[in-house]
């Protein structure tokens, strides 16, 4: 009975709680430890500094993880497609910038560590105001309203100088002299650890929210809003509360953005930032709680790392998005979850061979595709910038036919090979799944 009473998502009861937590949540704890130590792999002992690039990238990952998870509170959990989620991030950021400035001036001596809470409350406030209108509708109408809100606030950001600072945005200085721990926050590594702390808090809170009555009813309204009415819930209020709480977390992300960059501009409320949330969440997977985390990491890596190597990172992000939507609508998280039953049945090894056979043709296609994109890029933007296309000291001339021919052969040949290999993989996959089902029946 005691086993039965505890829900699927129940916290383990008192006995062995710590052990259970470790066993069940180890991926989160491992991620936390990794986040804490990873800057030290990029520590220069001669200068005594962390790599600025890596810390900046990690900080952005933390911010985007919160942002994407808050987006998935709408998209994945409540079935609400928003095109204006950046508004809540940006407004949280603006509020924070003003509060930090006031704090430095001494009028609000607020420790810097708690300013993300202020940003969160800012996000919550605006989510209540804007959500009042947006959540009157669901589905397409909701998406259209959020699109309108996004454009409206972007326009406002350029019109109302005192709050938004116009095109120049609002600058601030995070070294307010108010800290709980006596930290100056001059070094970005200190801000990074503050981000880690707030990201961890936000993830835990958002995870717990999925296990509350509101979180469950958000799922219920996503699955069947009419049925939700006939169990006594007003779907509109469910949407409204979910939207408001989602705004709270987006506001925290906005506050951390302000702390990191010490400037908030209208970019933070604009459509491209909202699209970013959608991209991260969808690529990571809307159906799995951790999905948006994976998506945020991946997109920020693409954004900051691939953009160093190539002009065309947006092309890669776009193609990745289309591929995911087409072939894996559950996102990376969904792909991982598909392997769970096979992992449990200890048959994952059976897929190693088929996966390996996909590797080479897959690689050929990727290289061929990258080559085509880069050749195009160097023919156009690269030429304008006076860059030359070099690969390990070999200069590739995009105006000659040879590299194009190589790319075409890789793309077409690899593509055909990949199709064959994919067929073989599908057969192997179905065989394993059928085997597990049969074993399950006889068990």
């Amino acid at each position: 009975m005691s086993e039965g009473v505890v829900g699927t998502t129940a916290a383990p009861l008192a006995a062995g709680r710590a052990g259970g937590l470790l066993r069940r949540q180890w991926p989160w704890l491992a991620t936390l430890v990794f986040a804490l130590v990873v800057p030290w792999f990029f520590y220069d002992w001669t200068t005594g500094r962390h790599s600025g690039f890596v810390v900046a990238m990690l900080s952005q990952i933390g911010i985007m993880v919160i942002f994407a998870l808050s987006y998935n509170m709408l998209m994945g959990q409540a079935g609400l497609l928003s095109f204006g989620h950046a508004v809540l991030l940006g407004l949280g950021g603006y509020v924070t910038a003003h509060v930090i400035t006031a704090s430095k001036a001494g009028s609000v001596p607020l420790p810097l560590e708690v300013t993300p809470l202020v940003g969160g409350l800012g996000g919550l406030f605006f989510a209540i105001v804007l959500g009042y209108f947006a959540t009157k509708q669901r589905a397409t109408a909701f998406a259209m309203i959020t699109l309108g809100i996004g454009e409206l606030i972007t326009a406002c950001a350029l019109m109302f100088q005192t709050f938004f600072g116009g095109e120049g945005g609002v600058s601030t200085n995070r070294m307010t002299g108010h800290s709980l721990f006596g930290l100056a926050y001059g070094a970005s590594i200190q801000v990074y650890y503050l981000i880690v702390a707030w990201t961890a808090i936000s993830i835990v809170l958002m995870l717990l929210l999925t296990r509350t009555p509101l979180g469950r009813m958000a799922n219920a309204c996503r699955d069947n809003f009419e049925r939700a009415q006939f169990v006594g819930y007003d779907p509109r209020l469910v949407r409204f509360f979910q939207f408001a709480l989602s705004g709270f977390f987006a506001g925290i992300a906005g506050a951390l953005y302000t702390l990191t960059y010490e400037i908030v501009t209208y970019d933070t409320v604009a459509a491209s930032m909202s699209a970013n949330a959608l991209l991260m969440t969808y690529i990571g997977g809307v159906g799995v709680f951790a999905g948006p985390v994976i998506g945020a990491v991946l997109i920020v890596l693409l954004q900051s790392w691939v953009s160093l190597l190539s002009n065309s990172w947006l092309v890669y992000a776009g193609v990745l998005f289309i591929l995911m939507v087409t072939f894996a609508p559950g996102g990376i998280g969904g792909l991982v979850m598909m392997h769970q039953p096979i992992w449990r049945a200890r048959r994952l090894g059976r897929l190693a061979g088929p996966y390996l056979r996909l590797l080479l043709p897959g690689l050929l296609v990727v290289v061929g595709f990258v080559l085509v994109v880069e050749l195009c890029s160097f023919l156009t933007i690269g030429a304008a910038q006076g860059k030359s296309f070099t690969l390990s000291r070999v200069t590739i001339e995009p105006r000659t036919p040879l590299p194009w021919a190589v790319a075409a052969v890789l793309l077409v040949g690899g593509g055909l090979w990949l199709r064959r290999a994919a067929g073989g993989f599908a057969t192997a996959w179905h065989a394993v799944v059928a085997e597990i089902k049969a074993a399950g029946m006889s068990a």
Binding site: G4, V5, V6, G7, T8, T9, A10, A11, L208, L209, R211, T212, P213, L214, G215, R216, M217, N219, A220, R222, D223, N224, E226, R227, A228, Q229, F230, V231, G232, Y233, D234, L237, V238, F241, L245
Partner: protein, 254 residues
Amino acid sequence: MTAPALRLIDVEKSFGPTAVIMGVSLDVTTGSRHAIIGPNGAGKTTLFNLVSGRFPLSAGRIELHGRRIDGLDPHEITRRGLSRSFQVTSIFSRMSVFENIRCGLLWSRGYRYSFWHLLGRERALNAAAERLLADVNLEARRDLPAGLLSYAEQRALEIGITIAGGADTVLLDEPTAGMSRSEADHAVALIRRITAGKTLVMVEHDMSVVFDLADVVTVLVYGQVIASGPPAEIRANRAVQDAYLGAPVETGIA
């Protein structure tokens, strides 16, 4: 005498120029099992949609225990103790069977829009959900996504969600539609068991189910009540037999 559980007074409904319900008046006595029968297109499901607040009335009024409920939203009517099931199964398909049942319980147990209760720790709630799960014989399917259940299991879950909120007036729309004989027998036993002490109104095509379960039968033809009374009386009613295109109702019972 106390007010009936459900009272319909001159209820009318038109969709554009098409009148679907044309002046239906009906009393459902508290604690009775009331079946509504009639040929296809008679407006039985529409009547349920009016009572449960899914559609607004064109004219007339509906009272639940003497209090007017027409014009209220479906969730408000549900909160007053009237619950309904759907002819086309309506469940939360991506959530587990257990979660489906638990969602049905939440409002009546006062959780409202709470985002500060962790459901896993609400022992009384979870115990009630487990009991109900056992009542509808779905314990073995507890953690399966509801969308993966068999048809008959989904119908059972539908009934489970419908009665979870503890409503004292339950509307079941063709609870045995599409079921095999033995599945239907199970469903009837289930309905009889879990609606004990409640007022039950059901739309049903299967005459054996109707005469097995119902205390009162109302016959609806083209949006009008042509007869209402105990099953034996209805079976003998000439007008009812004519409404079924001359086919004696008895053939339906066999």
